[in-house]
Amino acid sequence: MKNQLVILIVVVLLGFFLRFINVSNNPPGLYIDEASIGYNAYNLLTVGKDEYGRAYPLWFQSFGDYKLPVYIYSVVGTMAVLGKTELAVRLPSVIAGTATIAVIYFFLEKLIYLETDKKLQKRIKYLPLLASSLLAISSWHIHFSRGGFEVTVGTFFYLLGWYLFLSFKDKHRLISIIMCIISFLIALYTYDIFRFLSILAFLYIAFDLKIYKKKKSYYFVLPTLLLSLPMILFSLTTQGSERFESTSAFSQIAAVSVWQKILLYPLVYLNNYFSFFSLDFLFNFGDGIGRHQIPNFGELYLWQLPFFLAGIYFLCKQAKSKITFLTFFFFISTPIIAAIAVPSPHALRSLPLVIPSVIATSVGLIFFIQNLKKLRIMACTIIALIALYQFVFYLHFYYIHYPRVNELDWGAGYKQLVLTTDKYKGKYKHIIIDTNLAYAPIYFHFYDNSIPFTVVTPTWKKPKSWGNYSVLYLRPYYNYNGGDKLIDTIYLDNINHDIFAQLWTVK
């Protein structure tokens, strides 16, 4: 046990370094949601209001997507210490990602302890350590822990909630169930998918503990309901369902009549739902969104595939065990809400799937090795070498290729644009930005809120009322011949040094 804890500490430290090293610069640049989170957090920290002037709001309007509060308020904390930096925006995610590695260990340890099948209990005694090690090196989890993604924090609190629930089942301590409820509530206010998953967890706990038979339970039920109520009510408003409306899979199909909807909607939903279990998504290409992954990499390592399948098989064979039940519960429940939206599959919305995937792979590995009668050491060595190679292969692509190939997915270029504009701002009366640099305003707000600017369309002409005032015009690179003077160029950091934007003086 002591040895396991020492190894766990090493694993958590490794996980932390993998998530923390160079996190300010890779992913290369803040993407728009991160910039928006950072800007709102900074405003809260300095003036106690969000970007729209609302004091300490529960929902952040942002780009109209109404962000949930937990991540933004946690960035307020990190910004108070680190200032308005990329690191401050990403640190809550790094910390939550690292902490999840420890939580999965304790969660599985407790689950095994509660297992009634003593033979199985003995066979999987190394499962917690193996699962936490695999989570520490999971490319899926590392990737989202290194960006300012709310889902990482949500996954942490969600898993913590389950661990505390198991703790309560074990020792019936009041504090465990209170903390469990608080964890699920925090997850509920962290990221959209937990609006469903946390409620589902509450329902599960309610039925598992048969709270309807115990009068004292109402001391817990009422506060939980009251604290969930703002979220439930918000979800029913147009603002609360805005994100759902804009990404709904059903709005993409041209079903006109009620019959067409009845015929097609369930099929579209099923198509999306099963796409989360597609081998192509899990092991081949991921979801294809540059911000979510390295191109040509799946969410799980290819070497894990046989053990993942073996794990599913062995879990099916232990159909009545608690570990099978909870693993499949996670597998089945996670995409339920994510499948309503497009694109589907979506690595971000399904991040909690990494937990059952890691458990299944670990179970597969353990049973595979235990079933080997001969050459066990040789098999372990070969597996370890292949895993190591693929892990280093991933790191190589993450640190060398990813910043060069996917920088535009992360809003790279915008920071440089703001910093370069800052150099010239004193010389110009007006600074205008072409709408094609669509996300420029939020980056200006985040990196330098003191630069005044106006956003204009590409057909913009200098108004006569501006007379001879000097104008700095920021626009993307395109064949422009307006007789103005080019004063600076922003290059991308990719291998071809493509032009991202240009700064012109308008006469």
Binding site: L264, P266, V268, L279, Y313, C316
Partner: protein
Amino acid sequence: MDRKIKILLISITVIVESLTLKSWLVCKNFSDIFHFSSTHIALQLEDFVHTEKGTSILLTRLFNNKPIDNILYLSRLYLQFWDVRFGSNWFSFIGYFGIIMGVYYIIANKKRNVIHWLMLVILFILPWIEILISPSFSLLLKSLYLWVPFILFSLYGIYQFLSHGVFKRRLIIVCIILVISAWWLIFLNADMQRYCLQ
């Protein structure tokens, strides 16, 4: 009685699975996502090496070389064949479910014999014909070795599924999947353009 129901269900399954061919017969071939191409490997390698400008040659060689790229590329092509999105179109949902059950019951069977192993080996080898050779004849002909054996195997899987556990419960599961499969094949057939060259 149970036996008769099983036979009836298997017959319905055959009909539903046959529906998949309807949409495939308009295709000239499978799309290139299944076909091995050495040119693709060469171009990809060139692209990777170009991106690594400034990196030590040792690292570049270690991670960008033909053996590794070939292994990754081939395994990707192979996995596409077993992907649920392709499977739901090519074998139908019920077919895909049957194949998974077939594999499960063969592996779980402690008295498995040579025939069982042979079935598995054939099943897992057949997609390589398309991946490596990519014969350019019609999909109807291809279905003889890429569809028929899988459908037969799926029927075996469904039969095994119905023969284990609580019959009524399993019967309901198979019926639900059958209805979804038929519904799917008649009304949606999503992602066909990804797999089919018209």
